[in-house]
Symmetry: C2
Subunit: 337 residues, 2 copies
């Protein structure tokens, strides 16, 4: 299949691109490069030996998705492009709703015009409504009672997809609810490269390990969890990438949602300890106030993906830390290096 990968220059997108190409698919990347780099796409070409068209475009703008599909006929769309920072979504909800919802609406309308019916959507384990019951199962509701505007934008899009599929019997949709992606390609050529201070834990730890920052900010240690720090289900981004290819292969008319996680919870302090073991020294950290909108603990039930996609995460947290350290060491300032 030829696949349009939106947000394909980003952290998850580059890894999905590698996996798609290695499994014999063709890839076109559309990305506005607002939080990613054209260099990342060149690195994917370096890893895979493939040539990858990169269309620099804001898909949330009217008509842009249509132009992309007119120029690049594809069999499927994997839609990763989105604003994704929880804290920023609280401060700038209008921009988050606009960008995330509109890009999806534009893509779906353009797909209909160009006869493309396969759609894989990048959702989030944070789209489940509060209060949550652990482990999170796909049948739990996602909706407006998710914890923050970013997560609500994902829940809204999930519901839009269900409504659009109900009105269009050809549409085939897989919703992938990511838990917390970490690690990177073992080559160390691609990885997570956040703008400014990292919002996610692993790149923050990597930057401290590499000396770019003094210490890790641990957001809260009084959560109702074993060590008081937040518990997340960290899934290796290479596992996440194989999950996308498996979802693409399993598409059928209608909408199915899948958790992509490991099924295990890890605390912030446990992750810092695992990373410290990889680098052979203690990573310094300090406890700071919790961030608004953060949940105490989340981890997935992954039986459905295992059963229907024949997928499971096979890489360990240690694998992720080792790969992240390889990326950080070779690229201390990310793709700028």
């Amino acid at each position: 299949m030829k696949v349009l990968l939106t947000g394909g220059a980003g952290y998850i997108g580059t890894h999905v691109a590698v996996e798609l190409i290695e499994q014999g698919h063709g890839v076109v990347i559309a990305d506005d490069l607002s939080n990613s780099s054209a260099e990342a796409v060149r690195r994917v070409e370096q890893i895979t030996g493939a040539s990858i068209p990169l269309v620099v475009v804001d898909l949330s703008r009217p008509g842009q998705a249509d132009h992309v599909l007119a120029e690049h006929p594809v069999d499927a769309v994997i839609h990763l492009a989105a604003f994704k920072a929880v804290g920023e979504s609280v401060a700038q909800p209008l921009e988050y709703y606009r960008n995330n919802i509109d890009s999806t609406l534009e893509l779906l309308a353009a797909m209909k015009r160009h006869g493309v019916s396969r759609f894989v959507f990048s959702s989030s384990g944070t789209a489940y409504e509060e209060p949550i019951t652990l482990p999170l199962v796909e049948t739990a509701p996602t909706g407006l009672a998710a914890t923050n505007p970013y997560s609500r934008s994902k829940a809204i899009i999930e519901r839009i997809l269900v409504d659009v599929a109900a009105s269009d019997p050809d549409l085939q949709v897989a919703i992938l609810r990511y838990f917390n992606p970490v690690g990177n390609h073992p080559s160390g050529l691609i990885g997570e490269d956040p703008l400014g201070i990292p919002n996610n834990l692993m790149p923050f730890v990597s930057q401290v390990a590499g000396g770019r920052r003094d210490r890790v900010s641990v957001f809260g240690d009084t959560y109702d969890t074993p060590d008081g720090t937040g518990v997340r289900d960290y899934v290796h981004v290479m596992d996440l990438a194989t999950g996308h290819v498996a979802a693409l292969a399993t598409l059928a008319p209608g909408v199915e949602a899948y958790n992509l996680g490991t099924g295990r919870g890890t605390s912030v302090l446990e992750l810092i300890a695992a990373y410290s073991a990889v680098v052979g020294r203690q990573i310094p950290y300090e406890i700071v106030p919790p961030r608004p909108g953060d949940a105490a603990a989340t981890y997935a039930n992954v039986d459905k993906a295992n059963r229907e996609l024949h997928w499971r995460a096979t890489r360990s947290l240690e694998d992720a830390c080792r790969d992240a350290w390889a990326w950080q060491s070779a690229n201390p300032r990310g793709y700028e290096s």
Copy 2:
């Protein structure tokens, strides 16, 4: 106050315009005229003696709301513009979500740029999540489990408003959850003028009473209601209009939601009987299958609007039928007549 009334050429908008002007406010109308008529605005001018600027614009398109507010400085926005047909929203969910959400996002962003902080939003009593408990109280959740894409678009916008107000302490929002508006200005100069076959009951009954259609289609008679037909809370549109002006006067920083209804449920057959009494003959009807997405019964608890807005509906269903018949008799083909 000078007020921008979006969708102001429509059924509810024209009545709100009359009421605003009669209470001393200035009005600018923005409307794309996709389901309304410039003649309606002329009729409002005829009733009120005021001159009303009409900007013909699709506010969901990028930059259009900004142009309107640049050209017409206002103190407040009453946002009624939306696609509103339940059945159509099931068939065309993409267009409903796009139009209804984007017009609101564009307005809010433009208001921020122009320093406008007062916003009254036209929501719906159908935005409450299923299963509902009667009477509907404002504390009941609105959300993605509302019954159809139209209603979900309203629930989504309500939540966006809460998030935007949380990020912007200046913003003052009233969410008005309409129940079923009926009737019209007693002059018979303005009224509900649907394109094609009416989706709402009262204009359908009016068109049958006027001989434009043979009989009323009653969508289902096996609901769990006293006579098996759907039960709704029909509120006179002139009462609804005074509710908007009351909400505008009561705005304060943050978001408050109000049901605007009568607090009483009326069945389809009861409404047909009331209209038949006004015209002095039985309006013919036939039972047809229920419409997807229609609820069996809804009616409001209106204590909050009564307490905080000092508002209550004062007009009866008979008033509404009499006014609707005056409008229908004088304008048998609506504004085309």
